[in-house]
Amino acid sequence: MTPLERHCGWLLRAYPVWYRRKRAGEMLSTLLEASPPGRGWPSFRDAQALVIGGLRVRGRVWWLSMLWVVIGAAITGYAFFITTKPIHADFWIPLLNTEPAVVSVAAYLTVAAWVVLTIPVLIAGFAQLRWRGLRMAAWAGAWAAGFALMYQAGKWGRYPGNSPAIGSPAVISWGELGLCAAWLALGAVMTWILAAPHHSRKAAEASSRPSRQASS
C-alpha cells in the first residue's frame, strides 16, 4: 500500500462505515487517478471535499452530537483543572474563579453553548431515528448518561478530593480521569447509534448497484 493510498484511506474514514463499504474502493481509485504521481497526499481540495462529504453523509445530527460530546468533555476536564488552583471559587460561577477574565468568560460561553445545544440535538436525534426501535432507546440512554456525567463532574468539581488523586501535587483524580474517558466513550456510542444510515442511504445504494433497466 502506497502512502497516498494509506492517507486517502484515513480521509475516507470521514464517511460512515455503511457508506464506505459500498463506495470506498471506487472513491479510492478516483482519488488515486486524480492525484499526480509521486505525491503522498491527495490535494488539499480533495481532502477538504472528503471531510465535508463525509460530514454531509453522516448528517447534521451526527456532527452536532459530536460537538455536544466534545464540549461536554472539555467542560468536565476544565472544571477539574480549575479545582487544583490554590484558591478556587466555584467553576460553575465563572468570574468568581481565579482564572483570567477572558478564560472565565470563554468557559462560561462554552457551558452556555453546551446547554443551548442540548435540546435541539436531542430531539433531532429522535427524529432521525424515527422515534422507535432499539437505537432510539440507546439514544435516550446515551443522553441520560451524558447528563449523569455532567452532574458527577459538577459534584467532584465542587469538592476536590472525593476520588483518589493522581500525582503530587494533584492535577486530576482517577475518578475525574474516568469521567473524561466516559465522555469520549459516550461520543463513540453516539456515533454508533447514529451510524445507522438514514435518508442518504437510498441514494448511495441506488448509485452503487447496477439498475435492472441498464443491464437488460
Binding site: 463506495r23 474502493g25 471506487e26 472513491m27 479510492l28 481509485s29 478516483t30 482519488l31 487517478e33 486524480a34 491527495p42 490535494s43 481540495r45 480533495d46 477538504q48 471535499a49 472528503l50 471531510v51 465535508i52 462529504g53 463525509g54 454531509r56 453523509v57 442518504s200 437510498k202 441514494a203 448511495a204 441506488a206 448509485s207 452503487s208 448497484r209 447496477p210 439498475s211 433497466q213 441498464a214 443491464s215
Partner: protein, 113 residues
C-alpha cells in the same frame, strides 16, 4: 440547477463514464471552470441517482478495485435539456440587446412591460 450539476450531466451526454473520467470531462467541457474534487463528485452522484437523473450502468474490476460507470437516464437528459433551454432563453435576453448596442450605440430604453 447549479453549474457543477449541469456540467456533470452534460459530461454523460456521449455515454457512461467512470468517476475520474467525469471529473476530467467536466473540467474540459467547462473550459477549466468546474474542477470537481472526488468527494464533491460522489456527493453529486448520490444526489443525482437519488433524483433518478443518473444511474449506475457498469461495474468492472480494474487493478483490484471496483470501477463503476454512470450514465444519464431519460429524466436526467430531459432535465439537462430543460436547463439548457432555460439558460439559452436567459442568454438571449442579453445577446439580443447586444446586437442593438453594436448597431445603434446605445441600447433602446427598456419598455415598462
Amino acid at each position: 440547477m447549479r453549474e457543477p450539476t449541469y456540467f456533470v450531466l452534460a459530461s454523460l451526454l456521449d455515454g457512461p463514464l467512470h468517476g475520474y473520467a467525469i471529473i476530467q470531462r467536466t473540467e474540459e467541457l467547462s473550459g477549466g471552470r468546474v474542477r470537481l474534487a472526488t468527494g464533491t463528485l460522489y456527493t453529486a452522484l448520490d444526489r443525482l441517482t437519488g433524483e433518478g437523473y443518473v444511474e449506475l450502468v457498469r461495474e468492472e474490476i480494474v487493478n483490484g478495485r471496483v470501477r463503476r460507470s454512470y450514465g444519464l437516464t431519460p429524466p436526467g437528459a430531459g432535465a439537462l435539456r430543460a436547463e439548457a433551454a432555460r439558460m439559452a432563453d436567459a442568454a438571449r435576453l442579453v445577446t439580443d440587446r447586444g446586437r442593438h448596442l453594436k448597431a445603434g450605440g446605445s441600447a433602446p430604453k427598456a419598455s415598462p412591460a
